[in-house]
Symmetry: C2
Subunit: 346 residues, 2 copies
């Protein structure tokens, strides 16, 4: 089985974005806005997926995508905590419908109703609803709800701890994922995303967060930002700071996905990061949509790169494709066992 | 000849830091502060280098370091434009003394008197002084003078153009280099530095700055931040945005150094980035000071990694070690020719 741990609903029916624009517009002019004005049909959902995510799953031979609302669309910096809660509920409900229509193709991960300056404890309700009522297996956590101004405390601050307590209790991991940038310095997918990844890793390296939460799990997407490329730098900085070796300090809690869009990058990732810490992902349909003229294949067809890593053993590929995801997203494992049992002949 | 294009005076005599503390202190309590209270002897300078940069040059077999004030120490976010000008002059004068004491071992690069919100045109005077009077060959340009708040316009904004005009006129490149971070989200050497590199590259990718300044040259340090590791992503984003191929768009103007502290990183860098765009550097004595227990050598002994790149041709090594640096730092080439001529027997 090949599990893609990083997919966003970037192809959602246009009504969703129109709804969001109405919500944001109502904030500006204080006009009345009804929370229940979104009417997307099952057919619209099917159509939005059949020509995109499902088509690529079939063509590339991947099986299940861990699926969450569009990251750029989370827009935690817009409006306030109420805006974010309403918007998160709408987006998460739509992911739930996707997963209900295609239970073998998608598993849900939720957007959290974060808002700059608002304690993350505020997200516990929506996280719990998504996990316990909608059957989601994880959440996306924005390390910078301000959208490029980085005005909240680091992820390792106690500000975030109540949310982590709930994650541990529910046994769900978080993918560290920023949203769009409202700071003109940062292009979203080309800078802000990767900076968010690099920043989060370094926050973990300098803290004792995993002493406080030994079972807390984070996935750092986009191949870990700059981290694997600078693995020597990080090993060295940790050593200079008298921190424990990285394996001991954070590799029981921090994982990297494979959203790196060329062979040399994936070769490096699988060479320097322990195989147990790598989860297959493509981010499709996402940051890069086109075909690489150098290879003739989609940039984001990351399975091809994994397959072509020199000397990568079959057992290691199985870990990257499936085993590690089932370890990190432990609720997915339970979900799949139940689903398999249900399918078994009587 | 082996030119290390990225060295900071991190080992400057302690009096320099004490001076800086007095300067900052005077800002806070408005106490009188004399600009001329720094007294560092030539012997102190010699001692600060002999046991550090010069020792490593000898041990590692490198010849000349392009040398600038400590990056973390620039602290453009402290005080105002006057504070920065005074401090830059002091730091640059000290680099000048280093280069005068060891003209064959160091070439100067200046710190600029940047200050958040202050137009970079304000730096033209000090840049001109350093290049024309002190014989410096380049400058360090901080893309975020706010120290982690990213409150100034992107490097591609016309805000920066007057400084670029002067750089072009003087024919000097800039290394894009942030200073310390006063934002608790960003560890300086582990996150802010690399984020600055990644951010600057993406700013260039989305702009036409090099149409406006066809001969402007930038070095992106720390191996280009996250960029080479995500080279496929950048090629893809450029293509999706209908930008020209990266080679055409920016590789006549943007260069990467080799401050990547493990073999796999340097292997990737030299594989995906054209050899003509790579400049040897170590950042010693800098971000990582210790010995890698996996190799038994200093993490920042980057020459070892270059030497060990599989299949890297001797001619390519010469470009990385010397040729490219002389192209980018054209004033260094002139300087070395003059120096060589002076040494030649009559």
């Amino acid at each position: 089985m090949i599990i893609d741990c990083h997919g966003h609903y970037t192809t959602a029916p246009k009504d969703l974005e129109a709804y969001r624009q109405r919500q944001i517009g109502a904030l500006k002019d204080s006009s009345p806005f009804s929370f229940d004005t979104l009417a997307i049909t099952d057919d619209q959902i099917r159509e939005s997926l059949e020509k995109a995510q499902l088509k690529f799953q079939r063509e590339r031979g991947t099986d299940l995508t861990i699926f969450s609302p569009r990251a750029m669309g989370m827009g935690h910096h817009l409006g306030n905590a109420t805006t974010s809660l309403e918007w998160s509920r709408v987006c998460n409900d739509l992911i739930y419908r996707v997963c209900s229509l295609y239970p073998e193709k998608f598993a849900g991960v939720c957007q959290l109703p974060q808002s700059p300056g608002v304690p993350p404890a505020n997200c516990i309700g929506e996280l719990t609803r998504c996990v316990e009522e909608l059957g989601f297996v994880g959440c996306n956590l924005n390390p910078d709800p301000s959208g490029g101004h980085w005005s909240d405390p680091p992820l390792t601050d106690r500000f975030w701890y109540p949310l982590y307590e709930k994650m541990v209790e529910l046994d769900v991991p978080a993918m560290i994922h920023v949203s769009g940038s409202c700071n003109p310095n940062f292009h979203a997918t080309g800078a802000h995303y990767l900076n968010g990844d690099t920043t989060a890793f370094m926050q973990f390296l300098t803290s004792d967060i995993f002493k406080d939460f030994p079972t807390l799990k984070f996935i750092i997407p986009h191949g870990g930002g700059a981290v694997p490329y600078h693995w020597g730098r990080y090993r060295g900085i940790a050593q200079d700071l008298k921190r424990p070796p990285l394996g001991e300090l954070l590799l029981k809690n921090v994982y990297f996905d494979t959203c790196v869009y060329h062979q040399a990058g994936i070769d490096l990732l699988t060479k320097v990061i322990p195989i147990e810490n790598i989860l297959f992902a493509s981010e499709m349909v996402g940051a890069v949509k086109s075909i690489d003229p150098e290879t003739g294949h989609y940039f984001d067809d990351t399975k091809r790169y994994i397959e072509a890593v020199p000397g990568l053993r079959e057992a290691d590929k199985r870990k990257i494709y499936e085993g590690n995801a089932l370890t990190v997203y432990s609720r997915l494992k339970t979900k799949l066992s139940v689903s398999k049992a249900n399918r078994a002949p009587l």
